[in-house]
Symmetry: C2
Subunit: 537 residues, 2 copies
């Protein structure tokens, strides 16, 4: 039995049943658990005998380590904190959560118990059922300890601004410490959760902020903030929507090797592995393998997995290991068949996040405020020369076949936003000269190629193209680029035995999430980020 | 427009619409395409002038490389081969597929065109609309070339045993080569698709078989066999069901780093990476990171990704890189809460495959026959001592705390199958002595631990346990195992600030698919396998 499946009493129809069921199950649970608790309780209460007999004996203490003993048979039903609402008023419920804060005040102890992004106030007051020792015990528990609490759901006279559950609190009946946290915390969740104000992210204002390295060094604590709980749920959502949509369109998920025998794309920025008596390399992209799957008749494939870049870039947007969402698709006559699939994929990701992750987005925005992400349906598609003209009109000097510099990319994002009111757009027809040898040239132009990038809030999040599927032409283009044919033999061979025309692209998951949320650093959206200076935790 | 979304005329209701729509679209397509085809056609027909004027000019040839030219605007609707049935009789349809075989016979040419696991016969006969040159052209196309064919759907007098579409064939109207295959193929799809008979897999019988290294060296061709098309679709299905089920149960998908700073579990069998000026290692499992996510309050997590083992094992079931399906889950009182979730996960995977991948299973069994996979719902759960007794009764000598050897593991699988009629079971309560230091001891036993393996057809496919979540106890157990505490500091630190009790496990995707299908080698279910001797393609 888990907190997800327990009676929650949320839906109107279940209300009566939940109440009676809860009471019945509590009685059963009380009986079953009692024995174990009495065994363990003494060790916590012996220090606390100053004030004579303790009327709350057996109602609080440190629980023996939960080791799945046969003797502990509990039917206790736990309620999720997010589901404790006024509808449950006057019921006793059990919760398991973290002690977020506790504040002793005379004969009272105010606690906040946190469960992921939700929290509730718990009140312990000395009374004819709650002993002084019990209240003192509550106020001495280390923050971040995990506690089981039984309490009566009680309406509050006024809203509790500091908790997610603002209309109710729990009046304590039992409290057991399940897992104790160390006394000293390297960072406080309160500090790590504080809203960002002004431009200077972490160090602004009078309140304590937590710098990024402290967060990452203590990631298990940092991950507990409401914003982080929401960020990684939303990130999981992006992957889910990506897969569900492509699967519905007939794409097959594949898995591609990360250890490869030759450095793809020339050998720069690649990590080397000792492989038995030889060497191998970490794949910088699954592209060759996606294309082999197309040549192997899978028609439409996607893959989600780690990609590696040995770039010594210490910026807000570079990682040495990130998650690639890659797809490749055979088409009939025009690579725009593929561009349209990718474009609508993004539109649907944005819609899916907006419609199904509203609570996560709200939670994240409370700490990191940002303008909502805007997009058009169907998405805006511009051609490269149009972008060059827009930049020139804004005063930028650049040649027709120059690549977009990072500042120009961002400026273009602002110009596009101002003109079209969208944070997402597709830039098609990049100059052939700045794309890799396997990119299909545009047959209707002397300088363009059948390639495209896609952008979110002015930064590239996808790069893709029609690839050359013709064996002879691929060799011709490789020679033109002075690529050593022998070194790419395995790649070229994939096209020797017939291959349909195809196009695809690779998406950086972390960049999509960072830019969708308007966050300032990619490390905020990588659970355990890797950069040239960080390999831990 | 793609073959997946085109009019297929399968459903009864759409029949009339499809027919008229098809004709209308064909006319449009014919107009649009004609221009391009005339341009390119000459180069193929010039060699074929022996017999005077060609009445089929403009109806066949090698298409110019599809380069997404603006001048080719086609509304041609392609039909999937699998959807060509008698209901479409007398309609002309377009298909794009591979020339599987062609056989010239006087004034006729019999072709089989293949599309993934489906195939159809195409007939070209010299007539008053089809020239001798056209038929000759057909018979000279290299096998495995990709062709666009327009043909009239025609009922066949008797079933065509060699094709998936047995009741219809296409009478050719047009044929265009989209992508030519090389003349010499390193292996033939016919040979690579031949059913296995007898015990000795590849080398049995009079017919040519293709050995495994030839297959893997030429994977883009090998992947085109019907069985391989089906295997990797089924493999994608396992991942999909795994994720869908766990997501529905509140699990969050996470991504864990593959590059780590310390070799997990002591440093044996780990690949070393050059990491800028230092070194890193490839993760042997995501376990630490899953556990950190639990300590970080994600409650239930899963991850699918590459795991690496630098074991020099050249067996049918070892890979140096494989796909791990990993999960970890906080529980309330007993790790069986987690075992039950994993058990029902497997039951649901087996049900999902049986119910939704019947066609794939059938296709695979045609080449690799096997007894259907049997399972119980809920799954069978045995305790380790029971297994020891069963083995002893079968004559095996072993101690109470000995691990299962591979032969004993397989024997036990046969004994379990004979007694319980299931190919899947859970073995719980492994001896503490043979499990890692972080495994939670069973508090009710002197020798057992809260750990389990799961088996399919007598081979282990999951290993898991309740992990020690208590900081002090973890150190105590590490010391007991003489593990250097300093080396695992990062791991131990994860439990310093409170952690709920939790358990989990890791599943080898390739093993699940291999054993579900009863295949004899794990390389058959890894699209691009990696072993000590293979890093290509």
């Amino acid at each position: 039995m888990t907190s997800k499946t327990g009676a929650t009493g949320v839906s109107e129809g279940e209300q009566v049943k939940s109440k009676s069921q809860l009471k019945k199950e509590e009685k059963l649970a009380a009986k079953a658990i009692k024995k174990e608790q009495f065994k363990t309780m003494n060790k916590t209460n012996t220090n606390d005998q100053e004030s004579g007999e303790d009327i709350s004996v057996g109602k609080y203490g440190v629980l023996k380590m939960i080791q799945s003993s046969k003797s502990v048979v509990s039917d206790r039903v736990f309620v999720d904190v997010k589901n404790i609402m006024t509808i449950l008023a006057d019921n006793s419920v059990w919760i398991r959560g973290r002690l977020h804060t506790s504040r002793a005040k005379g004969k009272q102890c105010f606690m906040v118990v946190r469960q992921q992004q939700w929290s509730i106030q718990v009140l312990a007051v000395v009374s004819d059922t709650i002993s002084k020792q019990f209240v003192k015990f509550c106020s001495n528990i280390n923050k971040e300890s995990i506690v089981d609490i039984k309490g009566k759901v009680t309406r509050t006279p006024s809203k509790i601004g500091s908790c997610s559950q603002q209309d109710v609190e729990l009046h304590i009946e039992e409290l057991w410490v399940v897992s104790q946290s160390a006394n000293q915390l390297p960072l406080l969740i309160e500090d790590a959760s504080r809203p960002v104000k002004g431009d200077d992210d972490e160090d602004q204002g009078l309140n304590i902020k937590v710098n990024q390295d402290t967060r990452l060094d203590n990631r298990v604590i940092d991950l507990r903030t409401p914003a982080n709980q929401a960020i990684f749920r939303l990130e999981a959502g992006v992957c889910k929507i990506f897969r569900d949509l492509l699967t519905a369109k007939g794409f097959v998920e594949i898995h591609t090797p990360k250890m490869i025998n030759a450095a793809s794309e020339g050998g720069a920025n690649v990590f080397t592995i000792s492989y038995f008596k030889g060497s191998a390399y970490l794949a910088q992209s699954p592209q060759l393998y996606k294309q082999m799957a197309i040549a192997g008749d899978f028609d439409r494939v996607f893959t989600i997995g780690a990609v590696f870049r040995a770039e010594d870039s210490n910026t807000y947007r570079h990682l040495t290991e990130f998650v690639g969402l890659d797809l490749e698709m055979a088409f009939k006559y025009h690579y725009h068949e593929v561009v349209d699939v990718i474009g609508s994929l993004f539109t649907n990701i944005f819609k899916g996040l907006r419609d199904n992750y509203q609570s996560e987005i709200k939670t994240i925005c409370e700490q990191y405020p940002v303008e909502p992400f805007k997009f058009l349906d169907p998405p805006l598609k511009l051609e490269f020369p149009t972008a060059v003209n827009m930049l020139r009109e804004a005063g930028v000097e650049m040649g027709d076949e120059d690549d977009l510099s990072t500042p120009n990319e961002k400026l273009l994002g602002r110009l596009v936003k101002a003109k079209y009111d969208t944070d997402f757009y597709i830039l098609d027809k990049f100059p052939l000269a700045i794309r890799p040898f396997y990119t299909m040239p545009d047959p209707d132009s002397k300088v363009a190629s059948n390639s495209y990038d896609m952008f979110m809030r002015g930064e590239e999040i996808l790069s893709g193209a029609q690839r050359i599927h013709d064996f002879d032409y691929l060799i011709e283009r490789a020679k033109h680029h002075q690529v050593d044919i022998e070194k790419i033999a395995a790649y070229i061979d994939a096209f020797r035995y017939g291959c349909p025309p195809h196009a695809g692209g690779g998406i950086g998951l972390e960049r999509v999430v960072m830019l969708y949320l308007g966050l300032d650093n990619i490390r905020k959206v990588s659970m355990f980020p890797r950069d040239p200076k960080r390999l831990t935790p």
